[in-house]
């Protein structure tokens, strides 16, 4: 199992993500710099971490989505390599058009940083197979721009195709239809605002996030 974490200037959850990946796979991920043009040979799982890539200049994730390594990430995603984008990573994936929609400023304008209950909507994906459909899990959020937006036709389509992975059980940021995580049409790219890598140890207050990594990485092992 060869995993990779993409590191942008301003990423700040890259090491947390690396800890989560190493804990599950037993092997440290490759930390891949945004200026690189290729992923290590044989990379079979890619994570885009949280943070404030490029200082959120222009729009959250906008600059990172145009960085050289994203072409390699998009190519890998097209080949079916699993890609997980968390928080800023989710913003990058929407800006790169690997996922539909956009993430706007929270409706309440506040930075929201707390544990939130999530409802698992799709338990069939490679990322969510360790959860039961409809199960409520607890994962922390920490974001300012997590207000998911897509036009009504897109929302109807992704809901109809089972591509909403998680929904907020409570009001958090004004997201359309309370969407917290979205899959691409092939099911191998997941973007989510909550941070599963911050819920992998009982000392974190919960291990619901660990199950996502176990599912995603166990399937491939």
């Amino acid at each position: 199992m060869k995993t990779a974490v993409i590191v942008f200037p301003g990423s700040n959850c890259d090491r947390d993500m690396a800890v989560a990946l190493e804990q599950v796979t037993g092997r440290a991920p490759a930390m891949v710099w945004h200026r690189d043009t290729d992923l290590p040979d044989g990379t079979d799982f890619i994570a885009l971490p949280g943070g404030f890539s490029y200082g959120d200049y222009l729009r959250s994730g906008a600059m990172a989505a145009r960085s050289p390594i994203l072409r390699a990430v998009a190519d890998a995603a097209a080949r079916g390599v699993p890609v997980l984008g968390v928080c800023n990573g989710f913003q990058v994936l929407t800006e790169a058009q690997l996922l539909p929609g956009a993430l706007m400023r929270n409706a309440g304008l506040n930075f929201v940083c707390r544990n939130v209950p999530l409802k698992v909507e799709n338990s069939q994906s490679l990322f969510t197979a360790s959860y039961a459909a409809g199960e409520e899990i607890n994962i922390p959020v920490a974001h300012h721009d997590g207000n998911y937006f897509a036009d009504a036709a897109t929302l109807d389509r992704i809901e109809g195709e089972g591509r909403v992975a998680f929904r907020y059980a409570d009001s958090v940021n004004g997201s359309a239809r309370a969407i917290a995580g979205v899959l691409n049409d092939a099911g191998n790219v997941l973007g989510m605002m909550p941070h599963p890598e911050r819920a992998i140890d009982r000392a974190h207050g919960g291990t619901d996030g660990l199950r996502l990594f176990e599912a995603a990485l166990g399937v491939l092992a």
């Binding site: 222009l58 729009r59 145009r66 800006e95 929609g101 956009a102 400023r105 937006f149 036009d151 004004g174």
Partner: protein
């Protein structure tokens, strides 16, 4: 050559920042403001003869996120 680009939220996209500005204006006693929508102004200094198509591509590929934003290019 200076080119001005105006990036604005599409109609129907909620604008929490515009709403906050609106409330602040009301708090300052400015009545009669029906609505506020915030956008972004970008000034480009480009080579003379830069084509409309290139300017449009700059906006569509980077300066605006066309999922939520419209853009308007103003040439001198």
């Amino acid at each position: 050559m200076k080119v001005n680009v105006y990036v604005t939220l599409k109609p129907g996209v909620l604008d929490p920042q515009g709403k906050a500005i609106h409330h602040a204006l009301e708090g300052l006693g400015f009545g009669g403001v029906a609505d506020v929508r915030a956008g972004r102004f970008i000034e480009l200094d480009v080579a003379d003869g830069t084509s409309d198509a290139d300017l449009d591509a700059m906006c569509a590929k980077l300066l605006a996120n066309t999922v939520i934003e419209n853009y308007r290019i103003e040439r001198p």
